[in-house]
């Protein structure tokens, strides 16, 4: 027995040594590996409805025909993706516009390469909404003053947008009590009265609606017309050193976005391959818009709102961020 233990310990030590050894090669991982004309790029995504075009584009071969092989890593939140791209763990990532503006204004070298998703632009029929429980006394965004509103991340895009909805409705956004809560917990929190309203996105929004919840405002519609909500991005260093790979990624993603926008049924279908959204819920989900180009005015609007709300250390440079 004792000999076995010694062998076990020795084996474990070997493992330790090799694990340490392999960490040494992480330095070159940010250049992406290429072989036989194919470049493998790592892409950091959140497994949500928004990123369906990339999965669809990958399946349709839009990346492959340009010599790109996508290696998708999923993170549970955008917070893990920005540092991952900045440190070269991923070559590309997906993040909301305000997070990118925050990163840019605090000196994290990120560069947007392609559009991600946009609001549908139709009030009451967007993928993001402020919702209240059925029978609530809250009828419009102004009524949120003094109320508890659930939001997925404080001091980020959704807070900006909700504050803008309240402001546009003639209310004082400083009087709203924001509570941080994950999207998936919003239906239950709303239902049990822990919060008075929630700024939810799909598929949580579909669940809220199925419980009789009412949409009182569409914050992304209030920000601007056809707001760009999220984008694909890379690090400035990678962009400078691999301009051709970035260009190929840009083209392939634009083609994927256009294809997904034109084929919503195929987009809905591909969502079932990387999420577990039940079919009954998925049928009710409002898909976002996937225009190929980002909407600069809306990004400037988000930058201005973020500045008013005090999210940035210094004024972000929208021109430097955009492709």
């Amino acid at each position: 027995m004792r000999r076995q233990l010694v062998a076990l310990a020795a084996g474990a030590l070997l493992v330790t040594a090799s694990a340490c050894g392999s960490s040494g090669d992480s330095g070159d991982s940010d250049s992406g590996s290429s072989s036989g004309g194919t470049t493998t790029v790592k892409l950091g995504l959140i497994p949500i409805v928004d990123v369906a075009p990339v999965y669809l584009g990958q399946k349709k071969g839009f990346y492959g025909k340009r010599g790109l092989k996508l290696e998708i890593s999923t993170a549970s939140g955008g917070a893990a993706i920005v540092p991952g791209v900045a440190s070269g763990q991923f070559q590309f990532g997906f993040s909301n516009v305000t997070s990118l503006l925050i990163a840019q204004s605090s000196g994290v070298p990120v560069k947007a390469v392609s559009n991600g998703i946009a609001s549908t632009g139709v009030a009451g029929k967007d993928f993001a909404a402020i919702a209240v429980k059925n029978g609530s006394s809250i009828k419009s965004a102004k009524d949120l003053e003094g109320k508890k509103v659930a939001i997925n991340t404080l001091k980020n895009i959704n807070e900006s947008a909700v504050r803008e909805s309240v402001r546009k409705d003639g209310g004082d956004p400083d009087k709203v009590k924001f509570v941080e809560l994950a999207f998936d917990q919003m239906p239950a929190a709303l239902d049990s009265g822990q919060v008075d309203a929630a700024c939810a996105v799909e598929p949580a929004l579909a669940t809220i609606k199925s419980q009789g919840g009412q949409v009182i405002a569409s914050p992304m519609v209030d920000v601007a017309q056809g707001t760009t909500v999220a984008m694909y991005f890379t690090s400035t260093r990678y962009q400078q050193q691999n301009a051709d790979v970035v260009k190929k990624f840009q083209e392939a993603t634009a083609e994927s976005l256009a294809y997904a926008d034109a084929h919503p049924d195929e987009a809905r279908q591909i969502i079932t391959t990387y999420t577990k959204i039940p079919a009954s819920v998925l049928a009710q989900v409002t898909l976002p818009k996937w225009p190929a180009e980002p909407n600069k005015e809306s990004i400037e609007a988000l930058a201005k709102l973020g500045e008013e709300d005090g999210f940035f250390k210094k004024t972000p440079d929208v021109d430097a961020l955009l492709p």
Binding site: S23, P47, Q89
Partner: protein, 257 residues
């Protein structure tokens, strides 16, 4: 006696499952948020027939096993060195007490920055959390060495290595085994937490996807899997402990005089 224990354990579990079925059915909590046992069971069956589930299970077990192996070997080696080398114990005591309570999950941003969302990030968390369990137990174990036995070994001319092997190690082993058993459970918790928060492939990431997807029964089915895994790991660790310490009075059950 053991049969009776097993029967009692099964009865307890059956009562728990029945409660899980009854509470939502009686409307005490909403079925949408806490599905009854039978729906979780059918989601569980669906998971078992999905190849991606087994891949995720394999990823989680790989992270757990590698992390535990690194933590255990590092904990034992460093624990013995710290105890054996004069003054090292005093020199490191406050540092260890400072580092030990830092929650492993607080290191998630660091892990992501260093390794992105892959196995190595999870390993960082697992090793950090499990290492202290083994180290502290090893330190206690070595402290427990009978000074008379140690002096006797010395006077018989045993060298440092021989004394570690024949005096220190048998004394420390029961403590080390306790540390390993604690570390095995902690390593599993951290492996799954790491996957859940960072998104590294594994059961945790699958739970996160189910959560994001409003797939409530699937989420609970996966949580049940992690619970079962914890149970198996604990049983396994106890078996290893019993076999490794078969010579020790705590297992042998005789009074050694």
């Amino acid at each position: 006696m053991r049969l009776q224990n097993a029967a009692l354990g099964a009865a307890g579990l059956a009562a728990f499952l029945a409660l899980g079925e009854a509470v939502p059915r009686l409307g005490l909590v909403k079925e949408e948020y806490f599905p009854p046992t039978s729906r979780i069971a059918s989601a569980f069956a669906d998971e078992l027939s999905d190849g991606a589930f087994w891949t995720a299970l394999g990823d989680t077990l790989t992270g757990w096993a590698l992390g535990l192996a690194i933590a255990v070997s590092a904990g034992i080696v460093i624990g013995v060195i710290v105890s054996v080398v004069p003054y090292l114990r005093e020199a490191t005591a406050s540092t260890i007490e400072f580092l030990r309570p830092i929650p492993s999950v607080a290191l998630i941003p660091l892990a992501v920055l260093l390794y992105g969302s892959e196995l190595r990030s999870v390993l960082l968390l697992v090793v950090y959390a499990a290492f202290w369990q083994v180290l502290i137990q090893t330190l206690y174990g070595v402290q427990d060495v009978d000074p008379v036995a140690d002096e006797t070994a010395r006077s018989y001319g045993l060298g440092t290595w021989a004394r570690i092997r024949h005096v220190l190690w048998p004394t420390a082993l029961p403590y080390v085994m306790t540390g390993v058993r604690l570390a095995a459970a902690v390593a599993l918790i951290l492996a799954i937490t790491g996957e859940l928060v960072i998104g590294a492939p594994g059961l945790g990431a699958r739970i996160a996807v189910a959560q994001n997807s409003q797939a409530v029964p699937e989420m609970y089915a996966l949580i049940v899997v992690t619970g079962l895994l914890g149970l198996l790991i604990n049983v396994g660790a106890r078996t290893v402990e019993r076999r490794a310490l078969a010579w020790h009075q705590s297992v042998r059950g005789e009074v050694a005089v």
